[in-house]
């Protein structure tokens, strides 16, 4: 499908996409975390661009970060130091984990862009005071953008942006549902490219294209569902489309995920009535949380089991970046939750490169065989 290719191209060549966008006169703000209030950036007429770290050689980060830092952060720093992100007008760092927290400092001290902001979100999302604090922080971010770019971000613009992002979320969710119903309709690899592309492409264009893709897929006659075992992928970000193809080769279909480049990105709609900033804050409270945030001590385990049940997943693959503290701390307990429900799981720790194809395939095959 033509429109799917557009997303895939953007996900494969994010810098080329960004440069073209920049040439058309759009200012670009980079970010690394799915808690970024993209709606506010978009309402300012700026383009929010998720950074994945694509530098060929992440050793460029060696002069600032030790070897025991996750490859996402090393990759992003290497990218900016290599000059690959020259199209950025700035970056925003929502508070995530200890590693991103320090990346923010290092970025601030070693790069020169027009704009820089820390959005120090609360870590606990359970109290009235943290909700009030979160709104305050978002309001301050709105003002910072207004000041730096000499613009006014109106409530109307915010409402429009909320609509756009709601459409994107809704459509991504729809595509996930379509795939979960019948994985033959769209491949895991393509869907991964679509989600990733949605964080890179112009959002209005993305929203429109997603509606179209969803319509077409819905209308399409369904080929028979493949005879592969249904699995779910859980973890932080996944920048490895090959995982999906390898799993297929091994006889499994990824039918759902708990990734911040997946369902955690599109989960939770923003209310379109009332104060837009409050509404954006509310979504952070409602959406599936990332392990660097606190909502309850068991919520992630419950969510994971529920997602596996809902989508009839027979097994779970934990895809984690090496040196990622928040996810590594949660892994044993999530596994325990799954074990108690007799859902087998496997852990795959990756750095910037996947393990060799043969080795990975063998691991996947062994696991899939057990399901």
């Amino acid at each position: 499908m033509e429109s799917i290719r557009e997303f895939i191209a953007a996900s494969q060549h994010p810098h080329a996409y960004a440069r073209a966008l920049k040439e058309s006169g759009t200012a670009i703000i980079g970010y690394l975390c799915s808690y970024t209030p993209e709606e506010i950036i978009h309402a300012a007429g700026l383009h929010p661009m998720r950074l994945f770290g694509s530098a060929e050689d992440i050793s460029l980060a060696d002069t600032h970060l030790q070897s025991y830092c996750c490859s996402l952060v090393r990759g992003a720093l290497a990218d900016v130091l290599a000059g690959n992100l020259e199209y950025l007008d700035g970056a925003v760092f929502p508070h995530t984990c200890d590693t991103i927290q320090r990346l923010s400092d290092i970025w601030r001290l070693n790069t020169k862009f027009r704009f820089f902001a820390d959005v120090v979100l609360p870590v606990k999302l359970t109290t009235e005071s943290s909700r009030a604090y979160l709104s305050d922080v978002l309001k301050k971010f709105r003002m910072d953008l207004e000041e730096a770019f000499d613009i006014t971000i109106t409530n109307e613009a915010l409402h429009d942006s909320i609509q756009t992002f709601n459409t994107i979320r809704d459509m991504l969710n729809t595509l996930y549902e379509i795939r979960s119903e019948n994985p033959s309709k769209i491949s895991g690899r393509d869907l991964h490219g679509i989600v990733k592309g949605s964080m890179i492409m112009d959002r209005d264009a993305a929203a429109q294209a997603l509606v179209k893709i969803a319509d077409e897929l819905r209308a399409e006659a369904a080929p028979p569902a493949p005879k592969r075992k249904r699995v779910l992928v859980a973890g932080s970000v996944c920048s490895h489309p090959d995982v999906y193809t390898m799993l297929e080769k091994a006889g499994a279909e990824v039918v759902w995920d708990d990734l911040c480049t997946g369902s955690r990105y599109f989960g939770g709609m923003i209310s379109t009535s009332g104060d837009p900033i409050e509404a954006i804050a509310q979504r952070s409270f409602d959406r599936l949380i990332c392990p660097a945030k606190h909502k309850s001590i068991t919520i992630r385990g419950e969510n994971l089991v529920q997602a596996a049940r809902e989508h009839d997943a027979r097994g779970v693959i934990f895809l984690q970046l090496k040196f990622c503290d928040p996810h590594s701390f949660d892994y044993p307990y999530l596994k325990e939750f799954l074990d108690s429900q007799h859902i087998p799981s496997m852990l795959l720790e990756v750095e910037d490169q996947l393990p060799g194809e043969g080795q990975l395939l063998t691991r996947f095959e062994t696991f899939v065989h057990m399901l």
Partner: protein, 409 residues
């Protein structure tokens, strides 16, 4: 004087009392289930004063982690945590403590079980995950004191948020302990906390004297009280005595090491299982580690505290501690210490256990080199997991580093 006599002279008479206090403290904590006193596990940078007010015994898994490290039980416990599924790249305090809780292993037969958990994330995000794990395991209430990171200052929004959490914290304690918070008592405790912090700072300040009466390794040892018993009279009395001893040593010209020629600053947590080895190694080069960024963390934010309004102002003080500020502000503070203690070089412990303390060290190093032209070296380890430490490599590096330090002087 024989070498043995000289060695004895350099020993601290206060060390024995310190061990006694810590033993008494742990006995009291371990017998809490008989005495009916509630026990709270709390993070090292957490606001402990309200616990003291409520007669809750604070227990510090991190202090315990240090004991585990110093008694060489870290590798074994960390390996056990790995067998439970915890990655070997996680904080070794957390791994050791998680393994201990399960099997009551470790020194003193494990920590007393908590009745509540108090987690303040002003030191790291690790403690949040660690305390969630313990909250699931012990099935006890967890209070999270959320201190927004201060990359470039302390925002008004953060001020309102942390201040509000003091009230929430007190509510939490009142509910769990089923009694009222005594405001008058909190004023007393606040005073004692400040007094304790001031005295601790004064103790550390004696190291500005040449030769220094104490090393950072001594500070790592004497630190335990300001961490665990802040807000009590015990701390005030003890540090008063310790300060007297330091001043006596200065008067009598007793240096912490035999022949202090070089003065070194240490950055990051100690390597608990190699304290003795490291201190002897540096002493063999006539180098005294006079100060460190770690032990100052428990008295570094006094400037934000209003003595007459402790409860209100402690929110800010607890939020702006050393580990909760930007790399540039940390560098400022390191530069300040370099001047204050007149150091000749900086040793940075690149601590695989502690990412918020270690990431940014390279930038700080560059700033030090640019501003002060001082040599810096890095030692990599996991502070209580010995498997990560390569003695021969570190040994050679220290020799090379001291060579440069001596050439510069």
């Amino acid at each position: 004087m024989s070498t043995q006599e000289q060695k004895n002279k350099r020993k601290f008479r206060s060390a024995g009392r310190m061990r006694e206090i810590m033993t008494e403290y742990y006995i009291e904590a371990k017998s809490a289930s008989q005495t009916g006193k509630p026990v709270a596990w709390i993070t090292s940078g957490g606001p402990v004063e309200p616990l003291i007010v409520m007669d809750v015994i604070p227990v510090y898994p991190e202090n315990y982690g240090a004991m585990i490290g110093a008694s060489h039980m870290g590798s074994d416990l960390c390996a056990k945590a790995e067998a439970m599924g915890y990655s070997m790249d996680l904080c070794s305090y957390a791994r050791a403590d998680i393994a201990c809780a399960l099997e009551n292993g470790g020194p003193i037969g494990g920590l007393p079980k908590p009745d509540m958990l108090v987690c303040c994330n002003n030191i790291c995000g690790t403690v949040l995950k660690w305390y969630e794990i313990q909250a699931r395991y012990f099935n006890v209430p967890l209070f999270i004191f959320d201190t927004p990171f201060c990359h470039t200052g302390f925002s008004d929004a953060a001020r309102t948020y942390v201040r509000k959490q003091i009230d929430e914290y007190i509510d939490f304690l009142e509910t769990v302990c089923r009694k009222k918070f005594d405001l008058d008592k909190s004023i007393e405790v606040g005073h004692r906390s400040i007094q304790g912090q001031r005295l601790w700072q004064k103790v550390l300040d004696t190291a500005t004297h040449k030769p220094s009466p104490m090393t950072a390794f001594d500070a790592f040892f004497f630190l335990a009280l300001i961490v665990t018993l802040r807000g009590t009279q015990t701390v005030v009395d003890y540090y008063t005595e310790l300060l007297d001893e330091m001043n006596e040593r200065i008067e009598q010209g007793i240096g912490a090491i035999e022949n202090e020629r070089y003065r070194i600053l240490w950055d990051n947590l100690p390597i608990w299982y190699r304290l003795k080895w490291l201190s002897e190694k540096f002493a063999s080069h006539d180098a005294c580690l006079v100060a460190d960024t770690y032990t100052t963390a428990w008295c570094g934010t006094m400037k934000y505290i209003d003595e007459n309004n402790f409860i209100d102002s402690m929110a800010e003080a607890y939020t702006r501690i050393y580990l909760n500020i930007g790399v540039d502000e940390m560098a400022e503070s390191v530069l300040g210490m370099i001047d204050k203690y007149e150091v000749d070089g900086v040793v940075m412990h690149s601590n695989r256990s502690c990412k918020p303390y270690s990431f940014g060290q390279y930038d700080i190093q560059q700033i030090i080199q640019k501003e002060k032209g001082l040599p810096c070296m890095m030692i990599e380890s996991h502070m209580v997991d010995e498997r990560s430490f390569s003695e021969s490599q570190v040994d050679a590096r220290i020799d090379a580093f001291m060579e440069i330090v001596s050439q510069r002087k």
